[in-house]
Symmetry: C2
């Protein structure tokens, strides 16, 4: 199945905090339930957050008792506000909400039932993401060759999207083409998406994967054990790629060792009106750092930093792969023209 | 008390795997007990390993029933072999064993009881380490100033040495001089020495400390939140500093951001006859990565890398602080002449 699905008034998705130990499905019936699942990262991954927000608004429309368009739009706007407060850095979320609201505003009541229309628009967002990932895979796989060892960070896989994945979609596509590649996955503290989710996806598909701690990346590059980096993105702005904390550290090491650094993301992740200095980097709860599972790993009350993302300047990025194709570094200055 | 002490035929030290949650003292009575404590990292930290190995040989001499010098030396050589197999990269261990053996070989039986002599030599190694750390602190503190925020990795503190610490000794000395400094400690996966030991030592002394995950270092430097790096070393060879895994990653980031990168270590950590290409990097059990405490963080059976150390070329090092003073990068070419 897809990572998220609409089933007659219910949003069905996996609880990603339980993986890889347990496969628990969430059956969400209200915007508040979706918002809570996003906040606690049961639902996570930039493209998936877009689809989840769209389906949350579909739930509002589906359950609404509004008598007229204006009333339903007010409900959707309010629900959108709730969703926007869950993850401040997540551009796909904002993009999907705005897209649903704009569609709803331009909807003509004569044509169709508006609730049906909103549900269909949300479904379209999900379908487009799945299709975009297949295209990203197709274009990105051209960059990978027999014998490549690809380092990836966090989880930019099927679980981070509606289906197939961005960075892992590229890896998956190359593997499906029969290319003999291997993957090194960083565990990705504090939430361990690499150890939990990326290892799970790759093992399921039979793609060879080796797990390392985040601080081993320097050593691995020094020893020449990796020759490509492939990561996803949470936002791509005019001057930078903003992605899971730790990405920038890997990008600097890749630059030092002349290892190509690729970013795979759908266009819904791009916000080229924005520059990195204006992006709010979400700071999450200290307990994500001080606890691992139920184990406290340090003294109580210690001061902690917990930024969820970091900023990789475009100078560190070799190419960005989106559903339009591969944008090489020289094309970045013409970002807008190309999209 | 000191981190390790000789008490009438018993080596008393802390079980560092239990910190910071529990303070458990080990009372070791044989070389096998010491070797086991080193292997399982109950005893860890380069300079401390030297003292522990010395005291382990003191236990052999103390308990020996050898009738003559040659016989006791054979026992010490055998015990040394056991100790040398515990941690292949730990130069202080090799250094301390060789020093005790050489002293024992040159011992003249007319002067004194040989067991007493070996115990005294081990005690001297411990005392010299404590004294060296104080000197390292004194010289290194000159490099730190009011307002500095110092990033440190792993634990190069009192717990890694006989007393006071190397990197944390420098920080401690600056703090005792009244300098207004702050520390950022990386948690240091897989064994979390930063989260468990460095945070514990600094909080105990009232020195402000903030804990981060290893992969946040890039972000912290990008944001200008740190202006010095201070780490210890496991071996300093002719062309590189070999230290806890993750050190090289930090060094590359420090270079990229023009942040001075300092290494603090006693001369017992130097092995200038050696080059980094010939140093065996210890590869430890995969379970150190796949488990945190009793929690498994990934699928069973996943392939894992777990090198305990990495290699930082001297080009990335701004200065090395030892008990002789501060060696600036320009002096490194004359390493031997200066020591």
């Amino acid at each position: 199945m897809r990572t998220i699905e609409w089933r007659d008034g219910t949003v069905v998705t996996l609880d990603q905090t339980k993986l890889p130990h347990e496969t628990v499905f969430l059956k969400l019936k209200s915007v508040l339930e979706v918002a809570e699942a996003i906040k606690t990262m049961k639902i996570r991954g930039a493209p998936l957050l877009g689809a989840a927000a769209a389906f949350a608004l579909a739930l509002v429309a589906y359950n609404s008792e509004a008598k007229e368009k204006r009333e339903l739009i007010n409900e959707l706007v309010k629900a959108g506000e709730i969703l926007k407060r869950t993850r401040p850095t997540a551009v796909n979320l904002f993009w999907a909400i705005d897209r649903i609201l704009n569609s709803a505003r331009s909807f003509s009541e004569e044509d169709q039932d508006m609730a049906v229309f909103v549900v269909e628009e949300a479904q379209k967002i999900a379908d487009e993401d799945a299709a975009a990932n297949r295209l990203i895979g197709k274009y990105g796989a051209e960059l990978l060759h027999d014998g490549d060892v690809i380092l990836t960070h966090c989880n930019a896989g099927a679980l981070a999207t509606v289906d197939y994945g961005t960075a892992l979609g590229v890896i998956r596509a190359a593997w499906e083409q029969g290319k003999k590649i291997k993957v090194i996955a960083t565990e990705t503290r504090p939430k361990l998406q690499g150890a939990r989710l990326t290892v799970y996806e790759l093992k399921r598909d039979g793609i060879p994967v080796t797990l390392v701690t985040d601080n081993m990346v320097g050593y691995i590059m020094y020893k020449g054990l990796v020759n490509r980096v492939m990561v996803g993105a949470d936002i791509i702005v005019r001057d930078a790629v903003i992605n899971k904390i730790g990405t920038y550290t890997i990008a600097v090491l890749a630059k030092e060792h002349d290892v190509p650094f690729y970013v795979a993301a759908p266009k819904s992740t791009f916000d080229l009106a924005q520059v990195s200095a204006n992006v709010v980097i979400e700071e999450r709860r200290p307990e994500e750092v001080t606890y691992i599972g139920s184990e406290r790993i340090t003294l109580p009350g210690v001061n902690v930093l917990n930024p969820a993302f970091d900023i990789t300047p475009l100078e560190c990025v070799t190419a960005i792969i989106c559903e339009n194709g591969v944008l090489q570094r020289k094309d970045f200055v013409e970002f807008k023209a190309n999209l």
